[in-house]
């Protein structure tokens, strides 16, 4: 068999198996996420129970206060982060990703609240 024939066969088998492998990963991920869905609930409930602990304030005001505190903390955190030494583009790319992942978690929280 010539190298070219071999390379064409490898391409056919290889790309085929890559798609097979990736479909399997998809199925596995579906399985993992569905089987573990709701396992974090208890923690979520704990967080909510913390929310209503401050006495003498109606729930709406408390929520406002909570948002304000969260905002203040996030600003503070960002300032601390900006003070950190950055390592060229590489690190800032990773920071972007971490920031996005935080966004993602916040988004899934909102979804659960709905």
């Amino acid at each position: 068999m010539s190298v070219l024939t071999a390379s064409l066969i490898i391409t056919a088998i290889g790309m085929g198996l890559v798609f097979v492998g990736v479909l399997l990963l998809w199925a596995l991920m579906e399985g993992i996420v569905r089987l573990t869905a709701g396992t974090d609930k208890e923690e979520g409930e704990k967080e909510e129970s913390e929310e209503v602990k401050i006495p003498g304030l109606d729930v709406r005001k408390q929520r406002v206060a909570a948002v304000a505190v969260a905002f203040a903390l996030s600003v503070k955190q960002r300032m601390v982060r900006q003070a950190e030494p950055t390592e060229g583009n590489a690190l800032s790319a990773w920071q972007m990703v971490r920031y996005a992942s935080r966004l993602s978690r916040r988004a899934s929280l909102f979804n659960r609240m709905k």
Partner: protein, 378 residues
């Protein structure tokens, strides 16, 4: 007493120095310049450049007993360095966007076409099968995978392959945008994607690396060490109970392995191994691999756009090539350039981590199939 011998011993540094060595030292300086001035993957290109200089001053990775030879045997021949880097990379990757949108994983398969397309091109140009496959694996666009596969199939090509992989990876913001603009319409690039991910539990994040390790090791056993170390690093991070170990993985281990890997890969770039037509071929074909990856990814993105009746922005196909996280960030930026309020970063990162997985799987399959075919090729 024979003074000639003494003088020749003392002047051995000059007598063995060739024009080729001088040229390679310039190559090393250029790589360092790209690292320092352009900040192209500096943590790798700077040690590679310095190692290249040393290789041409009598300290190559092949010089028996030299310190770079010791490091080469300890970390490249055993494959420890790329695997230890993967432990650290795994600890830094966040798979939750992918778990929230598992269908994104399909994009991680399309973006590997460059590996196989380049293999065929290299075969056409007359490279041997093991060499053609090693050049193709530049299309994995993933340093450790390229180095791992090339060190098994064609170790004499390690230097140019690593240089191509890391240089082009840092050139992604220059290579990809023209192709994206050429292959997608403005309307396509403006497609907005709703981001309402399923909640992903901490337990799912912990099961994920274990399940992926088992599955990929069974499908592509040649990729097993790569996927195992990547997933080990991820498990150390997400489990949340071994901060000491994930800290070691993210810092001491990856930093030391990166420095030594760069140096020793650079130290394989001696003039006699590097200055030849094959190297030029590798650099040109490596660039083609990147382009083919991008084209295939975008075509698949357009297919998904068509199938879902316009719900998928084809740009996220371009980041299924791996090169995490630069490629993901770039796709998101291209979408935002057309419409400032179009925020597709989460989808892009899902596709990008899928590309990371797909690259390892495709690299491992390539290694296995080529090893199975080698005896059949004459």
């Amino acid at each position: 007493m024979d003074p000639t011998l003494l003088i020749s011993t003392i002047l051995s540094g000059f007598s063995s120095f060739t024009w080729g060595n001088a040229l390679m030292i310039v190559v090393g300086v250029v790589l360092i310049g790209l690292a320092v001035i352009k900040e192209y993957e500096p943590t790798l290109l700077l040690p590679i450049g310095f190692g290249c200089i040393l290789a041409n001053l009598g300290m190559s990775a092949y010089q028996e007993g030299g310190f770079l030879n010791v490091l080469y045997k300890a970390g490249i021949e055993t494959e420890l360095f790329p695997l230890l880097i993967f432990v650290g990379v795994g600890a830094m990757i966040d798979f939750s966007p992918l778990l929230a949108m598992p269908h994104m994983v399909l994009l991680g398969a399309a973006g590997q076409f460059g590996i196989y397309g380049t293999l065929v091109l290299a075969a056409l140009l007359g490279y041997k099968l093991n060499e053609a496959a090693s050049i193709g694996v530049i299309g994995a666009i993933d340093g450790p995978t390229s180095i791992y596969v090339a060190s098994k199939l064609a170790p004499h090509m390690l230097g140019p392959i690593a240089v191509a992989a890391y240089s082009y990876m840092s050139l992604i913001p220059i290579i990809q945008p023209p192709i994206m603009k050429l292959m997608t319409s403005k309307k396509e690039r403006m497609i907005r994607m709703e981001y309402s991910p399923r909640p992903v539990s901490k337990r799912a994040l912990i099961f994920f690396p274990i399940v992926v390790t088992v599955a990929v090791s069974l499908i592509a056993p040649a990729a097993a060490p790569l996927i195992a170390t990547l997933m080990l690093g991820n498990l150390l991070k997400v489990c949340g109970v071994v901060d000491r170990l994930s800290d070691a993985a993210e810092n001491a281990i990856i930093n030391i392995a990166t420095l030594f890997l760069g140096l020793t890969i650079g130290a394989t770039m001696t003039a006699d191994k590097f200055i030849n037509p094959a190297t030029l071929g590798i650099l040109v074909l490596g660039l083609l691999a990147f382009i083919l990856d991008t084209v295939a990814g975008l075509l698949f993105g357009k297919l998904m756009c068509f199938v879902t009746r316009g719900k998928i922005n084809p740009l996220i196909g371009a980041c299924g090539i791996s090169a995490f996280p630069m490629a993901g960030r770039l796709s998101a930026k291209m979408a935002q350039d057309e419409d400032f309020d179009n925020f597709i970063l989460m989808h892009a990162l899902g596709s990008n981590t899928a590309g990371q997985l797909g690259s390892v799987v495709a690299g491992g399959l390539l290694l296995a199939i080529v090893n199975g075919m080698l005896p059949l090729v004459h």
